[in-house]
């Protein structure tokens, strides 16, 4: 599903975010990216949805080298990739329903599709009955669920999550992880960057560890350290 071949990315001559990174992630895999701040986790995620382009190497997503992809094709690539963030990135002036519907609306889905898919995904993330609330009327965990619903409503092949439990208490974080696990079991590939040692150790999924832009460990059913 995702393949990196000798990928190097630097932001300046002194700051090299990623060095010669190579790995492959299969369909429906769940992968943790771990490592200290500045180790290149977020850069890896940004390379996977073409928010960044590498200096060297190739990034393959769903069988296509996305570095060579024309800019006009990038939106179509992103429709197959859901994104989840630590700060949720919800639109504060829109309700829960509208936030989720927004992701379908802006890619031209019909009202009928929106009316069908949004309630279904809100039910999946456990937010039925809260459709008309605004983000500020929700807890952090609920806001993250809205963010997950928005990322998953278009049934993407891949979910990229950047520290999704970073702002949540341990109990709420576990709830979010159970939800991501359920989504993963539907066949969606999940790649999650995290600092949360407890969650990585609890989930026992594949772990790719980075240190100053270099992959130092790639372990199936691994732990944080």
């Amino acid at each position: 599903m995702i393949r990196l071949e000798n990928v190097t990315k630097s932001y300046s001559t002194e700051v090299v975010a990623l060095r010669e990174a190579s790995f492959e992630i299969d369909k429906a895999e769940f992968v943790f990216l771990v490592g200290p701040s500045g180790s290149g986790k977020s850069t890896l995620l940004r390379l996977m949805n073409r928010q960044e382009k590498p200096e060297r190497g190739a990034v393959w997503v769903a069988g296509r080298n996305i570095n060579d992809m024309a800019t006009s094709k990038v939106p179509h690539l992103r429709r197959n990739i859901g994104n989840i963030f630590q700060d949720y990135k919800l639109l504060t002036n829109r309700t829960v329903f509208e936030n989720v519907a927004f992701a379908l609306e802006v890619i031209g889905r019909s009202k009928q599709v929106i009316r069908q898919q949004v309630p279904a995904v809100l039910d999946l993330v456990g937010l039925s009955g809260k459709e008309d609330r605004f983000p500020h009327q929700l807890s952090g965990g609920e806001q993250q669920r809205v963010s997950i619903a928005r990322a998953f409503v278009n049934r993407p092949l891949i979910l990229l999550a950047d520290e999704p439990t970073g702002n949540l208490d341990p109990g709420t974080g576990e709830g979010i992880m159970r939800l991501l696990d359920r989504i993963n079991k539907t066949g969606t590939t999940v790649v999650m960057a995290t600092h949360d040692q407890r969650i990585v150790n609890m989930m026992r999924k594949r772990v790719i560890q980075l240190d100053r832009g270099i992959i130092v460990r790639d372990q199936t059913r691994g732990v944080y350290d």
């Binding site: 992103r78 639109l91 927004f102």
Partner: protein, 301 residues
């Protein structure tokens, strides 16, 4: 498709109402600059009317009575063309051509215009001399022509014509410079309004890009917003121009006599309407340029 169109227009209205102050500022600036641009065109047209008979180096006009026979006209023409050392070019303007010119010259004086029918109006010969500065030669030609039959009068340009020509050049240049500067300011203001609108919605734009909205889909509401601002400015400026032109026309007609020299400065007929439509079009263009450049420049979040 329908949902996309409704989304684009909904977002455009939302953005317009959210940035009301900037929107009003952009529309008013566009209106003022387009009003001035339109005014420039009308002033130029007024000067053209006033100088209609004296363009192309014409230094003498020989008016011929309405009852002149073709033989009379032929004799006059032969006499004029028979002086190649003095006269470079002779152009005849028949009765219909004369009526058309009078319509432009006396647009602000319908009373005089009514009297100038095909039955009463004189036809005329326009004369371009070999040397326009040779006053002795011009007087010699005038004398030789006056003695011919059916000549009504021989007119030569007065100082006022030369003054008008100079004034037209100077006024024309400065009003064009001012209009261009103001149009540029309008483009910048619309550009800035769109940039502010995009900044206010940067979170939405970021989410839209991440969920796979195309750049065109993101840009379109902003581009339409700028286009609408420009069109509104054009309508407002064009409307104001019509009001001012109508007021000027009625003032000249009511308060000035036909010998005041101002009647030619009145522009009537379809010209003001075309100028107004051009202002609306220009407004749209200003809006489109301002918003398109801003939408392309600031789309990256």
């Amino acid at each position: 498709m329908l949902s996309r169109i409704s989304y684009v227009f909904r977002e455009m209205w939302a953005s317009l109402s959210r940035n009301l102050t900037l929107t009003v500022a952009a529309v008013v600036t566009a209106a003022v600059s387009l009003f001035l641009s339109g005014l420039t065109l009308l002033i130029q047209k007024g000067f053209d009317n006033q100088l209609a008979q004296w363009t192309g180096g014409v230094e003498m006009i020989v008016y011929v009575s309405n009852d002149a026979t073709p033989e009379n006209l032929q004799l006059i023409q032969q006499t004029l063309e028979g002086q190649p050392t003095l006269i470079e070019k002779v152009t005849y303007c028949d009765v219909q051509c004369s009526v058309d010119t009078a319509k432009r010259l006396f647009a602000g004086d319908p009373t005089t215009l009514e009297k100038l029918t095909t039955e009463t109006i004189p036809s005329y010969f326009k004369i371009v001399p070999v040397n326009k500065d040779d006053q002795v030669m011009l007087a010699q030609v005038a004398t030789s022509v006056r003695s011919l039959p059916k000549i009504q009068r021989v007119a030569t340009p007065e100082k006022v014509i030369a003054t008008l020509s100079t004034l037209k050049g100077v006024l024309g240049m400065w009003t064009v410079v001012m209009s261009v500067a103001l149009l540029f300011a309008s483009v910048l203001l619309i550009w800035n309004a769109i940039r502010t609108a995009m900044f206010a919605r940067r979170r939405e734009i970021e989410v839209m890009k991440l969920v796979g909205a195309t750049n065109w889909f993101i840009r379109l509401p902003f581009m339409l917003e700028g286009l609408l601002q420009g069109l509104a400015g054009g309508l407002l400026g064009g409307g104001l121009l019509m009001v001012v032109n109508n007021s000027w026309t009625s003032t000249v007609r009511e308060k000035f006599t036909s010998d005041s020299g101002l009647t030619g400065f009145v522009v009537t007929g379809s010209t003001p309407i075309w100028v107004m439509l051009a202002m609306v079009g220009l407004g749209g263009l200003v809006g489109a340029i301002g918003s398109a450049t801003a939408a392309s420049r600031f789309l990256d979040v």
